[in-house]
């Protein structure tokens, strides 16, 4: 059984795991991240709804955590906009509005309360999206919710199509690879910009793009843009995950992607290693500290003893005994259900866990 050694091993590459890894790496720790695929935030592009957190979740740290997260996404080339006190009503493919405090920049323009004329643009042959449908529902719901934006539906045709129908993923791949395609898309959208203040597109502006590419595109179009996350695979979310992971790799974080952790070795009140279910034999990652941010279905990793966490996010038993002093828990794993406020909690707890092990404002500092 071979092993790698790190200052910190993070299990999970969802919002919580990535934030934790970034926080620790920013403070000079050597970090390894294990994951078994994307985090769940790819479905909703990581939008943060600001909800009431429970008092024991240290909501007073939320501002700091969000600030860190915004900084992280900015460095990663996919900056978030908004803030904890902001509320925007962002449109969805169901023609409803999601009330959002922070979102990636490519979603943020879509605020329905801004009194604008917005064009919802469909693409001929694009499956799983219908601009006309979305528009009708958006207008209906905007009226109902006293929001001032009015929506019109537009359809464009693109000469490049993979077949008689296309998915947003296929278009996004094209957007990444092909400057001609981007130009054609821009030309097709230009006439629409004349009588609207905002273009709403199904999420398709690339999986590897970021602020530079999308802003370039927006500038060339000379009209603000916003994307709608579509049915999975949802391009805006995958883009965000790609960007953060790419940035962290460049910052020296080592990723072990694709293999689940089957077991964490607990011994003598410490987490000795995490065992990755790699082919042939488990790979052991040894970390001075370990953060478990492996999502809502991974509680079995902590065993039947796991009851909750202490003030430092360390897992404790029902009687309050710390299960392992160098182990921390973050994200949806803290609660068995995801749902509302999931990303907010993931950012906060990921940040707190990362800071805690980095010894700043955390356990080490206090000790």
């Amino acid at each position: 059984m071979e092993s790698y050694r790190f200052d910190l091993v993070v299990v999970g590459a969802g919002i919580a795991g990535l934030t934790a890894a970034a926080a620790a790496a920013a403070r000079g720790l050597r970090v390894g991240v294990v994951n078994a695929g994307f985090g769940l935030f790819v479905f909703g592009a990581g939008c943060v709804e600001s909800r009431q957190l429970l008092p024991n979740e240290a909501p007073e740290k939320l501002g700091e955590a969000i600030e860190f997260f915004c900084d992280l996404t900015r460095r990663a080339g996919c900056p978030f906009r908004g803030g904890l006190d902001e509320r925007r009503h962002l449109p969805t493919i169901m023609g409803s509005f999601q009330t959002i405090a922070l979102a990636p920049f490519y979603l943020w323009n879509g605020d329905a309360a801004a009194q604008v004329r917005a064009a919802v643009v469909g693409i001929k042959g694009l499956s799983s999206f219908d601009a006309q449908f979305a528009t009708e529902r958006l207008n209906h719901n905007a009226r109902r919710q006293d929001l001032n934006t009015s929506y019109v539906a537009r359809e464009i045709e693109l000469s490049w199509m993979p077949g008689t129908t296309a998915t947003t993923l296929q278009l996004a791949n094209r957007f990444d690879r092909d400057a001609d395609f981007r130009r054609e898309l821009q030309q097709a959208l230009e006439p629409i910009t004349r009588d609207t203040d905002l273009i709403i597109l199904p999420g398709m502006l690339g999986l590897r793009s970021g602020l530079n590419e999308i802003s370039d595109f927006e500038r060339a179009l000379d009209c603000p843009l916003c994307e709608l996350p579509t049915l999975p695979p949802s391009v805006p979310g995958v883009r965000l995950s790609n960007a953060i992971e790419r940035y962290l790799r460049k910052s020296g974080v080592e990723f072990f992607s694709g293999f689940p952790v089957r077991k964490i070795d607990l011994d003598g009140g410490r987490c000795q290693a995490v065992q990755i279910d790699a082919p042939a034999r488990p790979l052991r990652l040894v970390g001075d500290e370990v953060i478990l941010a492996s999502g809502q279905f991974s509680a079995p990793l902590l065993g039947a003893e796991f009851f909750g966490v202490d003030g430092w996010l360390r897992p404790i038993t029902r009687s309050g005994a710390v299960i392992a002093e160098n182990l921390h828990v973050a994200g949806a794993l803290l609660r068995s259900t995801g749902g509302h406020g999931g990303n907010e909690r993931a950012i906060l707890t990921g940040y707190r866990a990362g800071m805690s092990v980095a010894g700043q404002g955390g356990r080490h500092a206090a000790e």
């Binding site: 493919i93 023609g95 509005f97 999601q98 009330t99 799983s128 219908d130 008689t164 995801g338």
Partner: protein, 540 residues
């Protein structure tokens, strides 16, 4: 006032079979169904086309009926039948004396069966437990109950019969001891109406008692609930029965891409609002794992319950569910209760629906003085597919999608092929799990479909859309858009339909206690409830 000669209450297999039989005899009839076709026990059964093996020891008469009827169904409706064959497997934990009784009873009832060694049985079905003692073959098969019901109705409608879904019979009007008309209410719009008729046939399955009460007569029907587990893929390729006295969870039926394990048995007050308790599910699963050990790892997609309508006349006593005969009863209320023109057909099995329709229609024909005998045992339910169209379908669709569409649509395949010819984008597969094209969804939503649909769940009952692992999460949205794009629904209606559909699909999954389907359900809740802020999960 609208009028017809015969009104049938209930669009299960029985009612549909009666509609078809009457139309062949030239008797005008309208079938009224309070929801969609196969809303009752028909749509909630295994879909096992019984060879008779299951009943052969306990009730040889019923077994013989099944043997004859299943052979007829295979002949007249091959497109609905997946002739998988079946095995009666001898498990070491079961009573060995039963095996011999079973074998000789089969000979007596004319059920073709051969003994196979344990090794050969394992060769046929590798997922059987290694310790089995052997098995017998039998001509069990799977029948797609939705297709069967739909085909009966479609064939009848083509001959001029009427079918109305979402049309609940609310009163049976009797004057001078004679049925004169029925009142109905459209359960979607609330609209009410009346149809004059000479005869009313009560084919209300578990609701038969309620329906009969509208005519002022009592038809004692006991509802015996059975729950079924739908597993994601074919763990077996033939029907696997446990060779023992019928009991819980001893049948596994490969039903299209899924397989269905069942069932439990318990008396319930009525056919509505059935749920499966966690213990019941666990009980079924435990027994299922005895049947097929890999089931321990397999994925349960959903759990549903149906109520067997069991006819319990006074003298049947208080015996438990499985003790009451699975036979049917034809009740002529003219003779029994002095209500002329009212007939009930209750009990029985899906497998014997045609026979039940035959005896019912014989009675009706004699009442109406129509001298035409039953033709349903000979007349195919559907015309064959034009081979040129089938070839064309294979050119424009992937192999599996073409095969599925051909089997499901028969001669209607031509509409799909033409639609895709005209608008190639309709070839898009919108339900990936079950490979349903947008063309087919728009076809069943359109006017050309002989059995109209009203909801997204109805589309599912025609096409299997939403029946796969995603349980409608992704395809439901696309089906909604299809309904909108084909102008069948306004945006608001489409959105409402989708909301109802999600609810119904979520409910079926909510009984699944653990495993991947729980994660799938969370995904669906969070996607629509949170990201699209559309349809929040109803807690509790």
């Amino acid at each position: 006032m609208e009028s017809t000669q015969v009104i049938i209450v209930g669009g299960g297999a029985t009612g549909a079979g009666i509609l078809w039989d009457l139309s062949l005899r030239g008797i005008p009839a309208v079938l009224l169904e309070k929801k969609d076709l196969a809303n009752g026990a028909t749509g909630r059964c295994h879909g096992l086309l019984h060879s008779g093996g299951r009943y052969v020891v306990k009730d040889p008469e019923a077994a013989r009926e099944c043997a004859v009827e299943s052979a007829i169904i295979k002949k007249i409706a091959p497109h609905c039948v997946h002739d998988t064959g079946g095995l009666f497997v001898r498990y070491p934990q079961d009573d060995p004396t039963f095996f011999d009784r079973w074998e000789s009873a089969c000979r007596g009832a004319g059920i073709a069966s051969e003994e196979v060694s344990a090794d050969d049985a394992l060769g046929l079905e590798p997922n059987l437990p290694k310790n089995i003692l052997g098995a017998y073959t039998c001509p069990d098969a799977h029948v797609d109950v939705f297709q069967l019901t739909r085909s009966n109705i479609a064939a009848a409608v083509a001959r001029g019969a009427g079918f109305r879904a979402y049309c609940e019979v609310t009163a049976i009007n009797i004057e001078d001891g004679r049925v004169r008309s029925v009142d109905y209410r459209d359960s979607r719009t609330g609209e009410e109406g009346r149809i004059a008729c000479e005869v009313v046939i009560n084919a209300g399955g578990g609701w038969a008692q309620k329906v009969a009460a509208m005519a002022g007569v009592d038809v004692p029907v006991r509802c015996d609930k059975g729950s079924l587990l739908v597993l994601n893929h074919n763990l077996v390729t033939r029907v696997v029965n446990r060779c023992r006295m019928p009991g819980d969870a001893d049948i596994l039926v490969p039903a299209g891409p899924v397989c269905i394990l069942g069932t439990s048995s318990m008396t319930v007050p009525g056919p509505e609002g059935l749920t499966a308790a966690a213990e019941e599910v666990q009980h079924l699963l435990d027994l299922g794992i005895e049947l097929i050990p890999t089931m321990a790892e397999a994925r349960v997609l959903r759990i549903f319950s149906g109520a067997r309508p069991l006819y319990t006349p006074k003298n049947a006593g208080g015996a438990g569910g499985r003790e009451i005969s699975r036979g049917y009863a034809l009740l002529d209320h003219a003779a029994l209760d002095q209500v002329e023109g009212f007939v009930s057909i209750v009990g029985g099995k899906m497998t014997t629906y045609r026979l039940m329709a035959e005896v019912t229609c014989d009675l009706i024909a004699s009442k109406l003085g129509v001298d035409r005998s039953c033709e349903t045992s000979e007349e195919p339910l559907r015309l064959p597919v034009d081979p040129r169209i089938a070839v064309k379908a294979r050119q424009i669709l992937p192999a599996q999608a073409a095969a599925i569409a051909e089997r499901r649509l028969g001669p209607d395949l031509v509409h799909i092929v033409n639609a895709i010819d005209e608008r190639p984008e309709l070839a898009e597969i919108i339900c990936e799990c079950e490979q349903v094209t947008r063309a087919e969804v728009e076809f069943v939503l359109g006017d050309q479909a002989s059995v109209p649909v009203h909801t997204i769940s109805d589309i599912g009952r025609r096409t299997r859309l939403g029946f796969g692992p995603c349980q409608g999460t992704f395809c439901g949205y696309k089906a909604m858009l299809s309904g909108y794009r084909s102008r069948r629904w306004s945006a608001a209606q489409a959105s409402d339909e989708f909301e109802r559909f999600l609810d119904e699909r979520w409910k079926g999954q909510s009984f699944v206690p653990q495993g991947k389907q729980v994660e799938q359900l969370y995904l669906s809740h969070d996607l629509f409830g949170v990201t699209y802020n559309f349809h929040d999960r109803k807690e509790g």
